[in-house]
Amino acid sequence: MTFFFEVLIGGLLSGVLYALVALGFVLIFKASGVFNFAQGAMVFFAALTFVGFTEVLPGWFGLEPGSGLVFWLAFALALASMIVLGIATEKVVLRKLVNQPPITLFMATIGLTFFIEGLAQAFWGANVRGLELGIADEPIMWMLDEYNMIISKFDLIAAGMALVMFVVLALMFQYTRVGRALRAVADDHQAALSVGIPLKHIWAIVWGVAGFVALIAGLIWGARSGVQFALTFTALKALPVLILGGFTSVPGAILGGLIIGASEKLAEVYIGPFVGGGIESWFPYILAMFFLLIRPEGLFGEKHIDRV
């Protein structure tokens, strides 16, 4: 039974981290109806830029490597880069594709993916780097002593950070003027334009915020498994979370994350051995698919309205 709970809790914590990546998707989808394929690339770009700066900054300014100052300076610079990237995306890509069908915008973000991946590697090279956030990745001792259960401190803190972000963003969407405008844009670009919602600002804001989310996700995932191209794959983990929770819902993303995280781990442990293991690659998708059969727009997604 301890084992069961260990797996369950571990899964839930990983789930929150999946949800963190999914959140980036949700933001952009909600605000523009675009399925942003580049989300994974943005996570990679953000983390790589951050690590890149921590490497070069000491040399530039004679700072002590690994110091808090370097960390925060690198963080600020990485965030600035993400915002610049967001604004540039709006200027060069989205503005020109207003009111186009979703699939076209989707494709544009695929182009963007290639671009960002190339850009990141052109700037910082393809090397794999380590990243230390200074949060020890070790089991919480009293849990281990008391219940013989392994729960990682790192995961717990990361999940906590993620949850704070979720709450803030969820509130913003529901209750602010900008949040409302974002949702309006997602419904109908042209109508949003017609009431004077400045698409460019909105998009720049959203992509900036998505960049911030990507940076956080990049830092956490980068600290877990190194800053390398594989960070782009975190997007793959986020997709089932996204469909399960619904493309448009921040709470959906988090609940979806919890469900996917927990069930995928439990399935791997309890079902995997019977079919040869490795089912984590598809299990979340199949699970999400069955969920969709019951609720076609995910748990909290906006219902597709078709009236005649």
Binding site: R183, D188, V195
Partner: protein, 278 residues
Amino acid sequence: MNTANTTAAASAAPYLSVNNIEVIYDHVILVLKGVSFEVPQGGIVALLGANGAGKSTTLKSISNLLRAERGDVTKGSIEFKGARVDQMTPNELVKRGVIQVMEGRHCFGHLTIEENLLTGAYTRSISRGELKDSLEKVYHYFPRLKTRRSSQAGYTSGGEQQMCAIGRALMAKPEMILLDEPSMGLAPQIVEEIFEIVKDLNSKERVSFLLAEQNTMVALRYADFGYILENGRVVMEGAAKDLANNEDVKEFYLGLSGEGRKSFREVKHYRRRKRWLS
């Protein structure tokens, strides 16, 4: 009606003027072939014409929504209060006071009616209280919306959506509204109500209107001036009263012949169509 003095007061300076514009869609489809007209401050100008004449296109070129449909103003200029506005974004235009109500409603389906209305006030930085007042005003004009305020717009009836679209534009507190077929799909008494609202806003708050309307009868009743568009050209213009008395207009746009309105059942043949230009 006090049409006469509004027109007189306004004719001094051109408020909105459209000068000889040409519009091409998709680089190949030429739709407007040199359209010019003016809207005086505080005026109500009707743009009339058959389906496909280019009314919506004209409105969209003023509000700069054309680019979103891969359309382009290739010639001519558009001026509002003396400044060229053709290169402005719709957002800047709304801030300057020009807002369009698009044909076919275009409500934000997933937002509630009230949220839809609130998006209309996006460009105004106002306090919560003022926002509430504006809302109340719209609800006052359209009580039906109040009862449906918390339903998602996508699930409301056609007419409710139309009201929502108009109400949304009102929330921006515009100086000039471009109304594209406001009466479409509305029950007759609501049509009247909407035009009364137009009248009201026009006389009380000096809001100018440019309306594209198929319901010529009503449009000419409320407008000061009218332009008739055919095939992307202005083929006739004049004071609303004069137009309403023009024989051709009477026959083709008002369905009135010499002996008054004909029953729809009596119109026997439809293979006749007179065009001023084609």
